[in-house]
């Protein structure tokens, strides 16, 4: 959702990622910061102020993730005991199902999951706090900066541009901090943790399921490559269409006066059809990601069921292990996409941060002289003495202007239009 209700064409063209979306961010190719490294370093410096809070966040996030990863493996114990009980009943031996044990396992799981949820909430609470404080500070700094900027700056920069830094860019940074940052870290932890858990259950099944990862990486990169091409084309044609709309609506009276409607509609239809051709392709290709990821996920599921079934029949693993594996495979494919998206998210945040920092670094207005003279008796005599002035240093408008205005005098400045009498 854009924060501005007014259209900002130039911005949309410049920032395809922020414009009307199309598929996951991974498709967009994203925009890149000019100097990624130094921007990120500087952003980290800002974050360093909150390092204690962020440290706690990471601790809690990881603890919460680890707890939830352990869950399925413990759950497997309950299932196993249940299955054993059943098999014993069928065989006519044993004393039935050990509900005491199962109850104990389930209770400990309840405890684990509650703790995990609690940690996850504490983590979210603190991170929200940090990101909001940073947002507030960025906005405050930008606002203060505006008042220290030389007027000249705003001749070359539209108000929308400045506003956009204050709202959109700061928002992007805060969103990245609030959601993506912890998500990226927990994704990595989840992947590693799940891998460890799977290996601890059965190495053969783990290896076979892991084969899915490079397979999906190859397929995803193929799809991404193609779809990025169409996405860019779509954004470009969308820009053309929107540009034409703006221009024709803006110059509506001229179009009408010169009977240009038909021609304008023809041009529009042509642009619109070109847009359609790349739009559906881009949409379709970016929409392929989900089914492909699903397919890979289900492939893992089938592998676990078949191989697990075989191994269980051979008494090499238990039914509970299969159940745990199914849960692990499901939670394993998810973070792959998130991690694949990481660089895009970071690039987007860096580009936004860079624009904010750029603005903060603009040269400021000459500060007031250190020892200002105090005028105590103001008569109002104004004297121009060899005044030179240009809105830009390379384009001097006023050259060596001399004039004296005495109190009580009226002075007129006359000239042709554009001759700088204002």
């Amino acid at each position: 959702m854009s924060m501005h209700s007014q259209p900002q064409p130039s911005r949309q063209l410049r920032r395809p990622g922020g414009g009307p979306g199309g598929g996951p961010a991974i498709m967009r190719g994203g925009e890149k910061a000019k100097n990624f490294k130094s921007t990120i370093n500087r952003l980290l410096k800002v974050l360093a102020e909150y390092k204690v809070a962020i440290g706690i966040v990471l601790l809690f996030a990881n603890a919460s993730t680890v707890f939830s990863i352990i869950g399925p493996k413990i759950m497997a114990k309950a299932t196993d005991r249940l299955f054993e009980g059943v098999m014993a009943m069928i065989a006519g031996t044993g004393t039935g199902i050990d509900f005491d044990y199962i109850g104990q396992v389930l209770l400990s799981l309840v405890f684990l999951y509650v703790i995990s949820a609690l940690f996850s909430y504490i983590q979210g609470w603190i991170m929200t706090d940090v990101s909001m404080r940073i947002t507030y500070k960025f906005r405050k700094d930008i606002a203060a900066k505006i008042n220290r900027m030389p007027l000249r700056y705003f001749d070359g920069t539209s108000h929308g541009e400045v506003l956009s830094r204050m709202t959109n860019d700061v928002d992007t940074i805060s969103q990245t901090l609030n959601q993506s940052l912890t998500q990226i870290i927990t994704s990595v932890i989840t992947m590693l943790g799940v891998m460890v858990m799977m290996f601890s259950i059965n190495w053969l099944m783990t290896l076979v399921t892991l084969l899915v990862v490079p397979l999906s990486a190859v397929i995803i990169s193929l799809v991404v490559k193609r779809s990025q091409k169409y996405y860019k084309a779509q954004q470009e044609y969308l820009g053309h269409v929107n540009g034409h709309v703006e221009e024709m609506f803006g110059g509506h009276v001229v179009v009408k006066a010169f009977n240009g409607e038909q021609k304008s509609v023809e041009t529009f239809n042509q642009l619109n059809n070109t847009l359609y051709n790349s739009a559906w392709k881009s949409q379709f290709l970016s929409g392929m990601m989900m089914p492909i990821m699903n397919f890979i996920g289900n492939l893992g599921y089938v592998v676990v069921c078949v191989l697990g079934g075989y191994l269980a029949a051979e008494q090499m693993i238990t039914v509970g292990d299969i159940q745990a594996f199914i849960q692990y495979v499901r939670s394993f494919t998810q973070p792959i996409g998130q991690i694949a998206n990481t660089s895009n998210v970071l690039q987007g945040a860096a580009a936004a941060a860079e624009r904010v920092f750029e603005f903060m670094d603009e040269p400021e207005e000459t500060p007031d002289t250190a020892a200002p003279l105090v005028l105590d008796h103001v008569e109002g005599r104004v004297e121009f003495k060899n005044v030179h002035f240009g809105y830009n240093p390379d384009k001097i408008v006023i050259n060596d202007f001399n004039a004296k205005v005495e109190p009580g005098q009226k002075i007129a400045i006359v000239g042709q239009i554009g001759r700088a009498h204002v």
């Binding site: 199902i97 799981l109 108000h159 709202t167 397919f295 069921c305 078949v306 029949a313």
Partner: protein, 745 residues
Amino acid sequence: MMRLLKYLKPYIGLILLAVVLLFIQAQSELALPDYMSKIINTGIQKNGIESAVPSAIRQSQMDKVLALMSDTDQVSVLAAYQLVDKNSANYQAVLSQYPTLADQAVYVLKTTDTAALTQLEPLMAKGLLTVSGIEAAIADPAKAQQFAQGGMDFSKLPAGVDVFSYVKQLPAAVKSQITTKIDETFASMTESMLLQSAIPVVKTEYNALGMDTTAIQTGYILRVGGLMLLVTLLFTICTIAVGFISARVAAGLARDLRQALFTKVESFSKVEFDRFSTASLITRSTNDVTQVQMLVIMALRMIFYAPIIGVGAIIRAVNQSVSMSWLIGLAVVILLGLIITVFSIALPKFKIIQSLIDRLNLVVRENLSGMMVIRAFNNQQFEENRFDKANKDLTSTSLFVNRIMVVMMPLMMLLMSSLTLAIIWVGAHQVAESTLQVGSMMAFIQYAMQVVMSFLMMSIMFIMVPRASVSAGRIADVLEVSPVIVDPRQPKALAKPVKGQVEFEHVSFRYPGAEEDVLHDINFTAQPGQITAIIGSTGSGKSTVVNLIPRFYDVTEGAIRLDGIDIRELNQKDLREQIGYIPQKGLLFTGTIESNLRYADEGASEETLAQAARVAQASEFIETMPDGMRSEISQGGSNVSGGQKQRLAIARALVKKPPVYIFDDSFSALDFKTDLALRKALKDTTGDSTILIVAQRIATIKNADQIVVLDEGKVVGTGVHHELMESCETYREIALSQLSKEELA
């Protein structure tokens, strides 16, 4: 969205196809846990043996089974089997399957009727279990003890006599006594338990028949696995197909809507532009269309899918276990409660946040546009405090909302985990009672998750869809407007050559919805070959007068005539063909200077273009540009100055060479020197054309053939300069405010 339904009509076939595909997709996705449960229930637990009715049984063993059956049961069992021995026709085929056939005759299952098999299953299970029980008892005295307590004491049998042949000889009454006893023993077992217990006996029989039972088990698992793979493939194909359809439909709809909007807006007059505002029309044709496009994709891929898979998962879950479905119901109720609570707190706050953002933007915007004033009066500190207040309000509200939203994820995860645990606990008890199998319980867990997810998806839709449909409504608002100004049914034609006489006859005008007239009873005639000037103070309605001539607006009362014909009786195109209009702001289009000039006349010669530029005093600066006539003009003409834009706009009208020129305050950005030179050159070229000039400067129109003075929408004087100086008070005031007495003379 409903109002745009007719635009979906061309895609109705594709949409229905997508829904069908979604059904297949849901069915195949839901089939997977079912197969998993089969692998566990049958593949692992039952060693891949699907039925308690063995596919074959040794004749000796069958005799034992039959011995303990009632006569009716014996008949139905024998009907299902075929006895194969060395003399049978299919001996070789059966031998390869059951190698033991070489030693003795084998009963092979011949019926494939599922109903008969289901009926047969408990019979065979009971029979097989009894036989194996008795055999175990004979082998193991400890077990025999158990049987003895049950009323069957094998020790009473005469030594050396086979139990089964003994029983066979017994009179019917005694036999039925025994069978009743057996039935009683099994009565404590549920049927499911009975069938499951018989499986190991069947396995033993298969081993006795010389079959490879390990191969049976792996074969079963692989068979089910293969099916799963096929189903997964089907699922993926469906998803991709749905993705293809949704992309085509959404992009197609977006294209159609954009085209309909654009064509519609191009037919609008200024009335409709005033109503919607240009910026809003642009947003509706660009952003709002994209929103609708996204909505359609979401609808086809998720909104339709969520209920399909939700209902499907519920049905499947209930099939696995009816008695546990209350758990799913409970979870869904908690989930909905959670979502409703969180969003009923957060949603109103979202609106507040939006208005706080607007507030923040407003403060900054004011700060930016009033910068000169703020600095001149040293008000920076005040502005900063004002901003800080807005910033603090926004921050604290966002903080509140975010803290609430952060609750969602952990609680949702907790809910799903708890649901799983609850299913295992309740399920375990049912497993103990043999009303549920472990594999089914695991499948039930997965179906329960799918149900919860689909409800989650649906509730998100309920929040998102209304937002997106606001865009649809805004588009429909535009599409449903019928333009006020339309061509007449039977247009009149202008007599050629068109002279260009423009006549205002008792013209009154008020803006649509306004309460007062802007123009009142205007009467004047602009003659060919003459300059008619319209002057008045700001807000006197002088621009409105000329806007009526090309029918940007229609008169409210009276009539405007071109060469004696009411302009409302002409086609708009024919009318505008006769008019060279120069707007207040020199509006230019992207392209080159040349393309802008040619906008008036595609086929204009180089000569015409050059001359138009010369007359408009534009040649000078065009020549200084590196590419001359072919210099680029960027969007909105932002790379040329205001004065240059005006001169190019004038040149553009000149290229058209029309009978009527309208200069709508088109000299305002020109300095006096250029203004003068331009007017001089104009007079020489426009010849017999009618010229209407709206101006604020007396100097621009002093020499006009006719000056119409407007004040508050009324004509307060008509005549030439010196007449009006005498007779018209308003004119004299304007004139004296701009020029000295000497200049005016």
